[in-house]
């Protein structure tokens, strides 16, 4: 449907003319653009710059998939979604994939009928308190007022944690992270709780970050990853293995700097050769071009590069790799082999 949709009536005509769903891969190829759902803005993960170009850790995944499928990391239409609209946007086909720091849970996978293709960031819910409160552990927070975003898994985790530790708290419901920052700094609550990555990013913006501490307790598992709809496994495979390619590239030392050399001719390492398409036919099995992984890695670098550039220790957010280190370095980031 290439008609530019213009007035309501014209659009309705377009609706009637619309065809049945084709395979997502064919649709994306026909469209020439990947529709990728991202957040409306989260520091380090997705944000538009002054020229309207999106950048961030989740955005990097979108660009890698676009590069793998279409050969062009810029062929992405970023669709900003909120916590309330993201799942419908994916389920209805408005977007082809969602890379919006979404926690992989049982019900989202099974009940909402999505396929989480992997985890690109292992997060967990933490607590931030002012240093002057003199608290060193979440178990000392009896009777504290807690700023918490409504309608998220953090709200439920908090209730679970405090109930199981038999301590009381008073929730201060807030809508957005920005509001939370203001409320917390104004002293409306003693504690601010959200994902640890978000806490670190928030604390980095304070005028005196040293006056606030993150408590050591991580009270939940928040594996964040990209997801696709149930029912199109070929498309799911493409997104999954693009993510895996980024991870494998870091493990094998393939970076955006040396990928040109490595992919020009088969080297000594057969797995690198298979990954970059100089040997074997992995791309063909996936239904994309042979140099799909090379394009994906060249788009924004391998997993480690994306991490360092957007949320790593040299950025204002300053997250350590921690759980998100490669399995060879004691982390959880692990890709199945390319064989």
């Amino acid at each position: 449907m290439k008609k530019s949709v213009f007035l309501g009536a014209l659009t309705v005509a377009g609706v009637i003319a619309g065809g049945a769903a084709a395979a997502t891969l064919d649709e994306v190829k026909a469209r020439g653009k990947l529709n990728c759902g991202v957040t409306t803005g989260l520091v380090g993960f997705a944000a538009p710059d002054a020229n309207g170009n999106w950048d961030g850790f989740d955005v990097g995944v979108c660009r890698a998939v676009a590069a793998a499928v279409l050969g062009d990391p810029a062929a992405v239409e970023f669709v900003p979604t909120t916590g309330k609209t993201r799942f419908t946007a994916l389920a209805s086909g408005e977007i082809d994939m969602l890379a919006r720091n979404t926690t992989w849970t049982f019900s989202r996978d099974v009940d909402l009928k999505f396929t989480f293709v992997g985890v690109n960031y292992y997060d967990g819910q933490g607590f931030m308190v002012p240093k002057e409160l003199g608290v060193s552990s979440a178990t000392e927070l009896d009777g504290a007022t807690v700023c918490i975003q409504t309608g998220t898994t953090t709200e439920l985790n908090l209730a679970d944690y405090f109930r199981s530790n038999n301590i009381s708290y008073e929730p201060v419901p807030i809508e957005t992270n920005a509001e939370a920052q203001q409320q917390y700094l104004a002293g409306a609550c003693d504690v601010y709780t959200t994902d640890a990555s978000g806490l670190a990013a928030t604390r980095a913006t304070f005028e005196n970050p040293g006056d606030h501490v993150l408590l050591p307790e991580i009270v939940s598992k928040e594996p964040l990853g990209p997801l696709v709809r149930h029912g199109d496994n070929e498309w799911g495979d493409i997104v999954r293995w693009t993510l895996n390619a980024l991870v494998t590239a870091e493990e094998l030392g393939v970076t955006s700097a040396n990928i040109g050399d490595m992919s020009s001719a088969p080297g000594n390492n057969p797995e690198i050769n298979r990954l970059l398409g100089t040997e074997g036919s992995l791309g063909e099995m996936l239904g994309v071009s042979a140099d799909w992984a090379k394009n994906a890695i060249a788009a924004g670098g391998n997993y480690g590069e994306l991490f360092e550039k957007n949320i790593g220790e040299n950025t204002p957010i300053g997250l350590a790799r921690g759980l998100n280190a490669q399995w060879t370095n004691g982390g959880l980031i692990y890709s199945p082999p390319f064989r």
Binding site: L7, A13, A20, G41, A201
Partner: protein, 428 residues
């Protein structure tokens, strides 16, 4: 009796009034220090204003327009609670205005906005040249074409629907009566838009490709989005509201039931619910792969919402009109539409002006709700801007800027409504 001591034969020259009653002093005495309690109040107010300004001005006047990140602002302002960080506005104000619209085409929304003024001028001010009225009905199509671009045949095909409707009314009304004419006038354009307009526009554009670069709705954002949605809703809701208000007073049972049902249903539902319907529910109902523009969906919902409120405002005006006016119109032998057009509506609308403008302002501000369904209006963009690592943590400056812009628009609407009320006042 000629020994009158003194009779003045010429007028004394006029003397200047006492210095204490004219000029700045006189004004101050009369308005600020008129009695003890007023003097006390004046002094207290001045102290209050001074404290506010003393707190605000240093913050407002901080020299941070060139800063490129919040940290740089903090360095410029020094430690402590320095001043505002205006760098974010100077870097992002274009984005707050136009969203993601391609910069090389910024002239298009600007032209559309200016032409909106031209199109509205003859409607709003009776001193504007009447000939502009020809442009006014064409503007919606031309303005939309400027904003979205694409082939010129799309807006022309949409316009053709109205022309067809007009002729359908003429032909059918002459042949089968007025009611059939109205039905034909409604039915023919809809059929045209649904089944023929698209292919015809496509065929014409393949024969004669005239057009400008198309811009997708997704690129719309910032105030441009708010104004586009707001203006569409405002312009469409007034006629729709009038029709609904008339329908609600109609003697025809079905028409009345439909209008009452529509008005009460829409008014009974919060706007945000309608927006969620537009953004999520419609998506699920429509076949996958359909491309029903999200901004269009939102525009339709906001328009329907505003129309329901407008209908009730207009109904208030109709109810305030003395029955004598209806009877006078009947006595003159006017038919229903003529009576409405010449006698009832001019008076009813005049009564409703404050309510109508109030609804307009409300609708315009309600457009910020679209940020909840992921559209990047100014409020949505404020969140996106804060997500930039350089500006994370900035709140007041962005919200202040957005508030100022909204104030400018809403205040000018409000002043216009007061001007109109003065102009149409007949009670002197």
């Amino acid at each position: 009796m000629s020994d009158l001591g003194f009779v003045r034969t010429e007028m004394l020259p006029e003397q200047a009034p006492p210095a204490t009653t004219v000029g700045a002093i006189g004004w101050a005495r009369q308005n600020l220090f008129n009695g003890i309690s007023n003097s006390v109040l004046t002094v207290l107010s001045l102290v209050f204003i001074y404290y506010i300004l003393a707190a605000m001005l240093p913050w407002l006047l901080s020299p941070t327009w060139g800063a490129e990140s919040l940290n740089e602002c903090r360095e410029i302002n020094g430690s402590g609670h320095g001043g505002a960080c205006w760098g974010v506005i100077s870097e992002r104000w274009l984005q707050l205005m136009f969203g993601f619209y391609p910069p090389e085409y910024y002239w298009r929304p600007i032209a559309a906005f200016l032409l909106l003024g031209v199109a509205l001028a003859p409607v709003l001010f009776d001193t504007a040249p009447r000939k502009l009225l020809i442009f006014t009905p064409l503007y919606p199509f031309f303005g939309a074409w400027l904003l979205w671009g694409g082939t010129i045949w799309n807006p022309l095909a949409a316009l053709a629907g109205f022309v067809l409707g007009y002729y359908a009314y003429k032909v059918v009304a002459a042949a089968a009566g007025s009611l059939a004419g109205v039905i034909a006038a409604a039915l023919v354009p809809v059929l045209w838009w649904l089944f023929l307009a698209g292919p015809v526009a496509g065929a014409l554009s393949s024969i004669l490709p005239i057009g400008i670069q198309a811009v997708e709705s997704r690129a719309f954002g910032g105030f441009m989005l708010s104004i586009t949605i707001g203006v569409t809703a405002i312009l469409c809701s007034l006629p729709l509201g009038i029709v609904l208000a008339l329908g609600r007073q109609s003697d025809l049972l079905i028409v009345k039931a439909l209008c009452v049902g529509f008005i009460e249903f829409i008014r009974g539902v919060p706007l945000i619910t309608l927006l969620f319907v537009a953004s999520t529910l419609l998506n699920i109902f429509m076949p996958p792969g359909t491309n029903f523009d999200i901004i269009l969906r939102v525009m339709i919902m906001v328009t329907l919402f505003a129309a329901a409120y407008m209908a009730e405002v207009v109904r208030g005006g109709l109810a305030a009109l003395p029955t004598g006016q209806y009877e006078a119109a009947d006595a003159l032998g006017l038919d229903y539409w003529k009576a409405q057009r010449l006698v009832i509506m001019p008076q009813a609308l005049k009564i409703s002006i404050p309510g109508i403008v109030s609804t307009f302002i409300g609708v315009f501000k309600d457009t910020t709700l679209v940020s909840i369904i992921g559209l990047l209006d100014p409020l949505g963009l404020s969140n996106a801007i804060r997500a930039d690592a350089a500006w994370n943590g900035i709140v007041w400056e962005i919200y202040g800027f957005i508030a100022l812009m909204f104030f400018v628009f809403c205040f000018s609407m409000s002043r216009y409504s007061m001007y109109l009320e003065r102009k149409l006042k007949t009670s002197h």
